[in-house]
Amino acid sequence: MTMLRHVAIAVACGALLLLLSYRLDLYRDLQFAEVAAEVGAVAGLTVLIGISGQISIGHGAFMAIGSYAAALLLLHQHWNIGYVIVASGLVAAAAGGIMGIAAARLRGPYLAGATLMLAVALPSLADKYQSVFGGDQGLSVSITPPAALGATFPLQRWFVWLSCAATLVLLVLLANLVRSRIGRSWRAVRDDEIAASLAGLNVARLQILAFVVSAACAGVSGTLYAMVTTIVTPDAFTLTLSIGLLTAAVLGGLGSLLGAVWGAAILVLAPPFLQDFATSHGFSSAVSSNVPIAAYGVVLIVVMLVFPAGIQGGLRRLLGPAAPVAAAPFSALRRHAPAREEKEEGTV
């Protein structure tokens, strides 16, 4: 039943977006496509952190893996874009599995450190194997709208269609997964690992699975991102991107798929908006290029202090207590500080 409901919602959203793509100018279409492309990665991350209770500060690495896989498949195999999206998602999922095996042993900041270093180290492979990955200038990704849409069909609108379609499918799958037995098991593990394992759950396997799912989402998202930006380069997957994904997930509201949409929108739309604002207010170039950066920092701090559960949490609070708040979406992260928690309880 939930599956049907989710599909129905997705179809309705898809129809709405289709109409919208005709109403927007080409530049807005492109921004729209970029937001849609990023939603998948943020949604995957929000599930990983908010539902399964593991952290990743290097999720850009999985986007990179998906993008490069897609670029290579398009360049050398000339696959249909639909197959490419699925295949690159699977490649990223495999990478996520490997990371997940390591992650299942690590906790809190140690996991953060390992994922951070993954994001820093991975792009250097592109420099090391220039013949395959094209070094700094990367690989170009060019796709064209199918001929059936007519010769004048704008590329930007095709990007919107593809990224929205792929992302909606991802969201439907994720929404069902988090409501399934697996989703419930993830929450159980998140809330209390020991209790979950006593209840017969295979904690390590569940945690690895969460990494696999989340990396697959990032891989699909990376493919869409590469398609929209028409290029894959190592510079696109800096630590800044990974941190951007993390901040988007948290700003949106951890564990909430709708929150992931808000987060991705902020991530993509805030910088040009702030830059335009600074430029139009006559700041010098050094200032106007730095104002958006400083402002984003302030936004992060303020949202965390004012809406500790992110935008989606804030909306729920504003729109009344009716909707159940995603069961303590952060409690799992308590194990970041096992020693301290233990001790505090010891003194109760």
């Binding site: 952290i55 630590l239 001790k343």
Partner: protein, 294 residues
């Protein structure tokens, strides 16, 4: 042999900086269970403060040096009081995001207020010309010696402060068990502020010491921070000794990889070292194992 000496000593000279950053992270982690992602940005900012003072005082290095340390101390205290304290009792990830927010804000702010964000060089304290034994260049200079001495001196002073003073006792008691400390009349809030201030000071020291080799711009500490963080994770986030050792090990490993294999592999080597250590010691090399109950 000449190369080996240069790679080893050069690696130690880089590594001691990672140690300093790692040490500042450990200080905050032990005290507040917050990982301060803004540590590198704070160090960048205080180094700009030092540069401004040096330029305004006609090149007085030591005034700038002291100004950076003072600014680091103050910045740590202000940030803890102002924006980190309110995240206490909220989900741990919120404090992570707040420190990332601080980092981004500080980098933007530095671009706005210091020299139009232009790259600047920062002077070393002493000569950077290699020392020699006979005809063999060692690959380290007086300035490297000073850098190592300054970091080690700071570490020893910190250790003494922690071990032998009542302030140190308060800091340690709070780090290990804040609620019991509170019942004993320790003003935990002030102690945490002091912890951040001390970490800010150590970070500022690292900034002033490393920047002559990286040049100064709003992002100049990012990469150093990542390696410092890696060093702290390798050493174990609860162990100050681990921080120092982790930094030195990382510096030497990266230097060998860059020297004997390929510069392209340095980041991958960092990842490999980290993964290797965490595979066998999921909480770092110097994780305390004895007294903790599980």
């Amino acid at each position: 042999m000449q190369e080996f000496i240069e790679f080893t000593l050069g690696g130690l000279a880089s590594g001691i900086i990672y140690s300093a950053i790692a040490l500042s992270l450990v200080l905050i982690w032990r005290g507040t269970r917050v990982l301060n992602y803004a540590q590198g940005g704070m160090a960048m900012f205080t180094t700009y403060v030092a540069l401004t003072v040096i330029n305004d005082t006609g090149g007085n290095y030591w005034l700038g040096f002291l100004a950076a340390l003072a600014a680091g101390f103050a910045l740590g205290a202000v940030l803890e009081r102002g924006v980190v304290r309110p995240t206490v009792g909220k989900p741990p990830l919120n404090s992570v995001i707040v420190t990332i927010g601080i980092l981004i804000f500080i980098e933007g702010l530095a671009g706005i207020i210091f020299y139009n964000g232009q790259s600047a060089s920062f002077p070393p304290a002493y000569s950077i010309v290699s020392l020699k034994v006979g005809s063999i260049a060692l690959g380290v200079s007086w300035n490297d010696v000073f850098t190592a001495a300054a970091v080690l001196a700071a570490a020893v002073l910190l250790a003494a402060l922690f071990r032998y003073t009542t302030v140190g006792l308060r800091l340690r008691a709070t780090a290990f068990n804040a609620s019991v400390s509170r019942l004993l009349g320790v003003r935990v809030g002030r102690v945490l502020t002091l912890g951040w201030a001390l970490a800010g000071l150590i970070g500022a020291l690292a900034g002033v010491l490393v920047t002559p080799t990286t040049f100064l711009n709003p992002n100049s500490m990012d990469a150093i921070f990542v390696l410092g963080f890696t060093a702290a994770v390798i050493g174990g986030l609860d162990s100050p000794v681990g921080a120092i050792v982790g930094g030195l090990v990382l510096g030497v490993v990266l230097s060998y990889v860059g020297g004997y294999l390929s510069a392209d592999l340095i980041e991958l080597a960092g990842l490999a070292a980290l993964v290797l250590v965490l595979m066998f010691r999921p909480s770092g090399l110097f994780a305390p194992t004895a007294v903790r109950r599980v």
